[in-house]
């Protein structure tokens, strides 16, 4: 017989209250942890996807849209810019690398990016199989694309026009897979990468069909790209380059980090609301724990007085109540952790199919600890309130009033 055992028996004799306490507490823990994990994963993934990109230059329009489209590959591009203008900018001494990308097609929903060899190094991606793109109509696949579509080196497929999967506007030239990239956990995993010429050629031939009067020369003069991904030679470029482009050209320059911070501010409202709901549930659950323990102390006053006559000290009775609180919190923590893990897992199962990307991120330990400490301190408060009657208990009066 130990105090632990008595605490455990006390809990067992109050199944409803114990269930309520554990349930509400674990719900709030699950919500708090889940929302933190979602937020961390979301932000981490966004930041990860930036790779070495400091600046995006594209057609005028919404800078956020430009970043979403060209960096995160989530949205439609703002429009096109002339390749020769982009080339002019990339000669600036402030720029370390400037990678042009060109959009237009997809294969089964996965975007096909026309770009140069440097694109892959922006994400530190390495080839797993095959070789790099050497000539037009060759592609390398991001790891997720290859796995999901079950495409192997040497196989060919037909791309379709636009950025959304469709069977109506299918291009006639087939693309050949020449390489597959290793997984990077970055956005490149879900892209199909080819060279700029492939994109131009596909659309050039289409244009020939539609606009036969346009000659080849004219077309190549007006070669277009979607945007230019820039990484700076040094951070001071941040101050001058975007302003110069925005002011003096028909193009716009957007800073991905800045735009993403703006995006967090919008999405932050949702995270905050859910966090507040979680905090409110936490308070309610702590009240439930308090009421459960307080009720025990009050209703079982005679039992407690009896234990005092058995030789139990006040401190031992307090320990008994504290242990009950600890047992409830312990159960709730395990259940809460499990619930949040399951919840977040399913959230990602759902978003995975939308984004074609898995972005689940483990919660850093210090944030986990923070939540656990918060829950613990709330419970400590509830327990302290509940044990107050024990300290004030007058055994003689309680025993005299026995009926």
């Amino acid at each position: 017989m130990t105090i632990w055992k008595i605490s455990l028996q006390n809990i067992k004799t109050r199944p409803l209250y114990t269930f309520l306490s554990v349930f509400t507490l674990s719900l709030s823990i699950a919500l708090l942890l889940g929302i933190q994990q979602l937020k961390t994963s979301f932000e981490h993934q966004m930041e990860n996807n930036l790779g070495a990109i400091d600046l995006v230059i594209g057609a005028k329009g919404s800078p956020l849209q430009l970043v979403l489209a060209s960096v995160l590959h989530l949205d439609n591009p703002t429009g096109n810019i002339l390749y020769k203008d982009a080339k002019k900018i990339s000669k600036s001494p402030l720029i370390k690398t400037a990678v042009p990308i060109s959009y237009g097609d997809n294969y089964k929903g996965y975007k096909i990016i026309g770009t140069t060899g440097e694109f892959v190094s922006l994400y530190n991606a390495k080839l797993e199989k095959g070789s790099v793109v050497k000539k037009s109509m060759e592609v390398i696949l991001g790891h997720t694309v290859a796995a999901q579509l079950d495409l192997k080196v040497g196989e060919t497929f037909l791309s379709s026009h636009g950025l959304i999967e469709n069977d109506i506007e299918v291009h006639s030239e087939s693309l050949t897979v020449v390489g597959i990239l290793k997984p990077t956990q970055k956005v490149i995993d879900r892209l199909i990468i080819t060279n700029l010429e492939s994109v131009w050629d596909v659309h050039h031939h289409d244009n020939e069909v539609h606009e036969k009067e346009k000659n080849h020369m004219e077309y190549h003069e007006g070669k277009e790209i979607t945007s230019l991904l820039v990484s700076f030679r040094n951070p001071s470029a941040l101050l001058t380059l975007p302003r110069r482009i925005n002011k003096h050209t028909y193009m716009q320059a957007a800073l991905p980090k800045y735009e993403l911070d703006r995006l967090y501010q919008y999405t932050g409202v949702g995270f905050k609301t859910i966090s507040w709901i979680a905090y409110i549930i936490l308070v309610i659950s702590c009240m439930t724990v308090f009421i459960s323990l307080y009720k025990m102390v009050k209703e079982r006053a005679f039992d407690l007085a009896l234990l005092r006559t058995y030789g139990a000290s006040n401190f031992q009775l307090i320990r008994m109540v504290v242990y009950e609180g600890v047992l409830i919190v312990f159960l709730a923590l395990i259940l809460g952790l499990a619930l949040s893990k399951i919840g977040v897992y399913f959230m990602f199962k759902i978003t995975e199919t939308d984004n074609k990307q898995n972005i689940l991120q483990e919660l850093p330990f210090h944030e986990l600890l923070q939540t656990v400490m918060l829950v613990f301190s709330m419970i400590v408060l509830s327990v302290l309130l509940a044990i107050y009657p024990i300290i004030k208990m007058n055994i003689s009066t309680i025993l005299s009033n026995e009926k």
Binding site: M1, N10, K12, R300, D303, R308, T309, N314, I395
Partner: protein
């Protein structure tokens, strides 16, 4: 062994002061304290058990002045040396019969002794309800469990507060005889406080408040 010397007590909210006659019991001596309701019988019992501090006077039990002990020491002393029996028996609701006895031993810092517990339950006819929760026991079984709880740790003094007042004649005799036998077995002093004159004949030693 228990001696009291000029014990007085007063409840904070009232004017009247209880003055109690001196008690002097040698080893194995029993005492019946008779008195009408409201005369301070339970108060005296609680003073003897160290649950209330006297306004003046002294209680010496087994050579220890219990009012000179600190709270912690008194808790320990009470747990080891005193067994209390109540008018209506009580045991901890969330524990079963055996667990209650184990808890009693645990808190009085005595080692867990299952043979002793089994013997005691056997003597009191509680063999069949070892695993029963307290609320599953009948009144009579609960009364006997109360007695078991008051003697399981081999106390030096057994204090019984109206142990027979709601029992019929037969059960009254059985309960008192059990108490006397258990006191004899553990060499303890038995002090019974009651207004029940039926049990007077079973005690050689009695005082009237």
């Amino acid at each position: 062994m228990i001696q009291t010397d000029n014990l007085t007590f007063r409840y904070k909210k009232t004017e009247c002061t209880f003055c109690f006659p001196n008690i002097d019991l040698k080893e194995q001596e029993n005492l019946l304290i008779l008195g009408k309701s409201g005369i301070g019988k339970t108060t005296l019992l609680h003073l003897l058990a160290g649950l209330l501090p006297p306004v003046s006077g002294k209680i010496v039990m087994e050579g220890v002045d219990i009012n000179s002990l600190s709270h912690g020491q008194l808790d320990k002393f009470r747990g080891q040396n005193i067994g209390l029996v109540f008018q209506k028996s009580h045991a901890v609701q969330s524990l079963n019969t055996v667990e209650n006895l184990q808890a009693r031993l645990f808190f009085s810092k005595k080692s867990k002794n299952n043979i002793l517990i089994n013997n005691l339950l056997n003597q009191l006819g509680l063999d069949d309800c070892k695993k029963s929760k307290v609320n599953e026991l009948s009144e009579g079984q609960l009364q006997r469990l109360g007695i078991a709880l008051s003697v399981v740790h081999n106390p030096k003094v057994i204090l019984a507060d109206e142990p027979t007042s709601n029992l019929d004649d037969d059960n009254c005799k059985i309960v008192i005889e059990l108490l006397i036998n258990q006191a004899k077995r553990t060499n303890a002093n038995l002090i019974v406080i009651t207004h029940d004159h039926r049990i007077k004949s079973l005690f050689s030693n009695s005082i009237i408040l």
